[in-house]
């Protein structure tokens, strides 16, 4: 019974976010084309996520926040079909990109993931590759031919804020960089295949504060051109980098979406008292 309420509420909030955004500046309300409708996720019999409906605003950063175990990372992996690599995983509902359900039969997941890229928790450059090879690895993997690899290389590294640091040692191993640099290399690697959306799963949790700030700047710059969805545990980070926030919670059962709104509003006058408690650090 209670669960029904929850899912209906999250449905409502998701829609509400859209309404809220329509009141703000025109640029911000533009819809990125990525949305979920009543999305559920299971691991075996464990119902991990229930009834999340959410639309992502274009060219902005949306932060997914909430205590651990609330399903936000699961939700993120649902968005580009990484969820299905976990044995016994299952799902329900729809994830749409430009109106097309990415889970529909006949959809090529590899082609879809080119549009929705992903950066992981720990920096993970390919160990056997140089910096250059790392950035261009996506082209090889996806068999994309590019006329001018050098300028693409420079463009991606510049956007990831790494060009100046590595331009003289592009043939050094990716592993020779510091942790923060490695993570920016991973961002550059994701950018090389020119995604529309970039999913980031706690990209700074393994980094020191200095590197974290650099990455956050990079993320903000990225959002001028593409849509970023970032999972974060860190309230300060969410308030610093995100334009919108979606708050996930679990009451012991499956995780669900409590509300989603502009970050400013979520951190000052959220609709739900639990959101207020969470962002003020009362739990989680």
């Amino acid at each position: 019974m209670e669960n029904v309420d929850i899912s209906e509420r999250s449905e409502l909030k998701g829609t509400q976010m859209n309404e809220t955004t329509s009141n703000t500046a025109v640029l911000e309300t533009e819809f990125a084309g990525l949305e979920t409708r009543d999305a559920h996720a299971w691991f075996g019999n464990h119902h991990a996520l229930a009834g999340v409906s959410l639309q992502f605003p274009a060219r902005s950063v949306t932060g997914l926040i909430g205590p651990s175990g609330c399903g936000k990372s699961t939700y993120l992996r649902l968005l580009n079909r990484m969820h299905e690599f976990i044995p016994n995983a299952a799902m329900a509902g729809e994830v749409r990109l430009h109106g097309q359900d990415i889970y529909a039969p006949g959809v090529d997941p590899a082609a879809m993931r080119l549009k929705i890229g992903m950066v992981f928790q720990k920096p993970n450059p390919f160990p056997a590759m140089t910096i250059r090879e790392n950035v261009l690895s996506g082209l090889r993997l996806a068999h994309i031919k590019v006329d001018d690899e050098e300028s693409l290389l420079e463009k991606c590294l510049t956007r990831a804020g790494l060009w100046k640091e590595v331009k003289d040692r592009l043939n050094a191993s990716g592993g020779s960089l510091s942790g923060g640099q490695q993570q920016r290399l991973c961002i550059a690697r994701s950018l090389a295949v020119e995604p529309e959306v970039l999913l980031m799963d706690e990209p700074c949790s393994a980094l020191d504060p200095g590197s974290t700030l650099r990455i956050e700047e990079t993320i903000k710059e990225l959002a001028e051109k593409i849509t970023v969805v970032i999972v974060t545990h860190n309230m300060q980070q969410a308030s610093r980098v995100s334009d919108y926030c979606a708050f996930f919670l679990t009451d012991g059962g499956p995780g669900y979406l409590v509300e989603a709104d502009q970050t400013r509003k979520m951190f000052t006058t959220p609709n739900d008292s639990r959101t207020a408690d969470y962002v003020q650090g009362k739990f989680g």
Partner: protein, 344 residues
């Protein structure tokens, strides 16, 4: 509305697609069978080659509408599957052959009689390998009695005493695990057999012991290494001396691990033939005295029956192989079961 949501796996192939590909494969197998009937290809290997050729052709045509990336993926899938079949076929064939050919001679007399009054080509309801089984057990028992304590003491020396020669002991044990089994047999042959003037169970057991010792010592060392230092310190903190701490705290903690070490050692040597060729030889009747002379063993029984090469002797060899495999697998399963108990 959402609670009615049912978990689904849209990424999995639909049932009908799976059924269709299953049917396609079946059809391919049938076509391959027909081709085998009418061409020079023969046997299961010829059939597999034709089936692979069919699959490759089919994949080639189906892939024409795919992208380069997907084509490479599907080609790799086909090649990996085909190569796996080649990799898995031999030992699956061994399991099946041993089971089906061995079962023919598996009668009560096989495990109670010896071959003293039976010739190898006699009917399968006469004679048996009981003497060989007893011989194997006797030799393995002696080998275990000798090597298990030595192996465990070596492990203790490296992990607990941490003596001056720890490094040397470890290196020598490691290198001796590479002694070819025939060389171990030859060593005992030129020393022990020469000195005593006869092949014997004891000579066989010594040769097996040489092969067993490195396995037991290394496994013991690895098991003992897993004992956390905290546990040892706890022993000392209670005022226990090192020997008491080792006996009361360390050894009981790894008891099942040490049993595993012994079981793995036994499994390693019970099927060895080459060293017995030079030390224990073989016999057609029961021998219980470890120093009296040549003694039969299961591997030598199989080996001998195979060398004789008549229909029934070969059947006997397969039955021996079946018993040997059951013993080896039993030992391994037991070792795994015991080792699993430790972790819990």
């Amino acid at each position: 509305m959402s609670m009615q949501a049912t978990p689904s796996r849209p990424w999995e192939k639909e049932k009908i697609v799976r059924r269709n590909s299953g049917l396609t494969l079946l059809l391919g197998a049938l076509i391959a069978y027909v081709i085998v009937l009418f061409t020079g290809f023969a046997g299961p290997d010829g059939w597999a080659v034709v089936l692979f050729a069919l699959a490759a052709t089919f994949t080639f045509f189906r892939n024409r509408r795919l992208s380069v990336k997907e084509r490479k993926d599907s080609r790799a899938r086909l090649l990996i599957a085909a190569a796996s079949v080649i990799a898995f076929a031999p030992w699956i064939s061994i399991f099946i052959s041993v089971l089906f050919k061995g079962v023919k001679g598996l009668r009560p007399n096989f495990v109670v009689s010896d071959m003293r009054t039976t010739t190898p080509d006699d009917f399968l309801n006469m004679g048996g390998a009981a003497h060989a089984i007893v011989g194997s057990l006797l030799m393995v028992l002696i080998a275990t009695v000798i090597t298990l304590p030595l192996g465990i003491l070596s492990g203790l020396y490296i992990t607990e005493v941490r003596g001056r020669f720890s490094g040397v002991v470890r290196v020598v044990i490691q290198s001796m695990s590479g002694v070819p089994s025939i060389v171990a047999g030859l060593f005992i042959y030129t020393t022990f057999v020469d000195a005593t003037g006869t092949f014997s169970a004891l000579a066989g057991a010594l040769a097996l012991g040489i092969l067993m010792l490195p396995t037991v010592a290394r496994t013991s060392e690895e098991v003992l290494k897993l004992v956390p230092d905290d546990l040892r310190s706890a022993g000392y903190a209670l005022g226990a001396r090192q020997w008491r701490s080792t006996l009361i705290v360390v050894l009981p903690t790894v008891r099942s691990g040490l049993i595993t070490a012994g079981l793995l050692g036994v499994a390693r040597v019970i099927g060895e033939t080459a060293p017995l060729l030079a030390t224990a030889l073989s016999n057609t009747s029961f021998v219980f005295n470890p120093v009296s002379g040549p003694i039969g063993s299961l591997p030598m029984y199989i080996f001998g029956m195979l060398q004789i090469g008549t229909e029934n002797s070969i059947n006997r060899a397969w039955t021996g192989a079946l018993i040997l495999l059951i013993v080896v697998f039993g030992l391994f399963s037991l070792a795994r079961y015991v080792a699993g108990k430790d972790k819990r």
